[in-house]
């Protein structure tokens, strides 16, 4: 479905830091993503997970190496809060988010009542987003993110939102999406979620793949390395 071959990404940072001012975010990463599988990506913060997702989504291009996608396959990055405009209300933000994720205006308007119901925002849906709590913003973001219909779903740590009840609902919804005919790449810090949902797991550290394969094994190796 998608393959990364020797992909590296560098960018210029301030002089004197990293490797003479060049930050090697990803270093010769190679792996394949197969159709209908759910691939987990684990690793500490700042190792290049989001960058890898962005490369897969086509938002960034690698400095070296190539990204080979199956022709016609669409990818979409699912993160929270797709650029909420604080002065607008939840309703307007939902329309904007849906359209930014590929829905037409008519489709976006059609989804509105479902979004309002699922996010449990009630009357706040009509209030400016600047009055929302962080939890409310995440709920809005997550609900609109659920709407994307793409071939490859790239999920960046979005299942850690809301209170326990909403999180259960969110996980169920996500499980339904993932278990269907859907290729998913799933970044998470939660071992249980990863073991539950993923077929294969990739462990990344310092921009390189340290291990890949069976979820239980890979997670165990990752956790072991953290203890050192």
């Amino acid at each position: 479905m998608l393959e990364l071959r020797d992909v590296s990404l560098d960018f210029r940072s301030s002089k004197g830091s990293f490797d003479h001012g060049v930050h090697h975010v990803l270093d010769q990463v190679s792996f394949k993503l197969y159709e209908n599988e759910t691939l987990g990506i684990i690793g500490r913060n700042g190792v290049g997970k989001t960058t890898m997702l962005r490369i897969m989504a086509g938002i960034l291009a690698p400095t070296h190496g190539e990204v080979i996608t199956r022709p016609g396959a669409s990818a979409s990055l699912l993160t929270l809060g797709l650029g909420h405009r604080l002065d607008l209300n939840g309703r307007d933000n939902a329309v904007l988010s849906a359209m930014l994720q590929g829905a037409s205006k008519a489709e976006a308007m059609g989804y509105l009542e479902d979004i309002k119901a699922f996010s449990e925002l009630g009357d706040s849906f009509e209030e400016p987003v600047k009055t929302y709590s962080a939890g409310m913003k995440s709920r809005l973001g997550f609900t609109t993110a659920l709407l994307t219909h793409v071939d490859i779903l790239l999920v960046d740590e979005i299942l850690s939102v809301g209170d326990a009840e909403f999180r259960k609902k969110a996980e169920e919804a996500m499980k339904q999406r993932i278990s269907g005919k859907q290729t998913v790449v799933f970044v998470s810090h939660s071992d249980t979620q990863v073991k539950d949902l993923c077929d294969r797991v990739l462990w990344i550290d310092q921009g390189r793949i340290c291990a890949q394969g069976d979820p239980d094994e890979t997670i165990a190796r990752y956790r072991a390395s953290m203890k050192k």
Partner: protein
């Protein structure tokens, strides 16, 4: 993404920007009128009351208004559009959108806002006793070319700011330079050296456009259509080049914005 979806998204974003803009301030959309009016009052105060430049006050206010309203549209929109991609850092890193979407939304929104400002200008002209004339229809091509010019400059500015943030300092300086050199509070046509005047009109398209505003609205004269068309063509060419650059280097621009 399809062209249709792009334009639909552009329109929705522009309308949302309008809505957000008017809900942010207490006086809301009134600022669209208040700001141009305040500028003209200040000019009148300085040039007529304090400096007593001896011009017929009514004419001079109209002269200032035509120039200033057009210049404000250009300078504010190009400045905002230039910073728009960098300002939307969050979204740039999350969705794979054509980078031109952000500056275009800003510029499209400005068109909606500016249409009310032009109505205000007409109102001021009527209040000062200028009879509406058929020649005012020449404003249609003038405004269209003005918009094209703004699009070209806004898109180029947006790319430049993405590549180097330093341009965010350069652009306001450039606008101040244009404020003084585009014949907003002095009349190009009254320069002693008419050769100099022609040079200014040729090298500074903004000066030409502002002069065109006055020619049409105050004197009922058609603007120099050949010159107008040349500006339109140049603006269209720059726009096409910049859009093509933004398409080919979409990911490079994203990297520059995010790092």
């Amino acid at each position: 993404m399809t062209l249709r979806h792009y334009f639909s998204l552009l329109d929705v974003q522009a309308r949302m920007l309008l809505k957000a803009d008017s809900s942010r301030f207490r006086l809301g959309f009134l600022w669209w009128f208040l700001e141009p009016l305040l500028w003209v009052s200040v000019f009148f105060l300085v040039f007529n009351l304090i400096l007593d430049s001896g011009k017929k006050s009514g004419d001079f206010i109209l002269f200032l208004a035509c120039g200033k309203f057009a210049f404000l549209w250009f300078s504010k929109t190009v400045s905002q559009a230039s910073g728009s991609i960098v300002a939307s850092q969050g979204l740039v890193g999350k969705v794979n959108m054509p980078k031109s979407l952000w500056p275009m939304s800003v510029m499209h929104e400005s068109l909606y806002r500016q249409s009310t400002v032009y109505l205000l200008l007409i109102l001021i002209l009527l209040l000062f006793g200028v009879t509406p004339m058929l020649a005012w229809l020449w404003m249609i091509p003038v405004v269209a070319v003005m918009y094209l010019m703004i699009i070209a400059c806004g898109l180029i500015g947006a790319c430049l700011v993405c590549i180097s943030r330093d341009f965010q300092k350069v652009i306001p300086l450039a606008m101040t330079f244009l404020l003084f050199t585009s014949g907003i509070f002095w009349d190009v046509r009254e320069l002693a050296d008419q050769e100099k005047a022609q040079l200014i009109l040729i090298t500074n398209p903004l000066a030409f456009m502002i002069d065109a505003h006055r020619q049409v609205l105050m004197h009922g004269q058609a603007p120099d259509m050949v010159h107008l068309m040349l500006i339109a063509l140049a603006a269209a060419a720059f726009t096409a080049l910049t859009v093509s650059y933004m398409q080919k280097n979409s990911q490079y621009l994203a990297l520059k914005v995010l790092t």
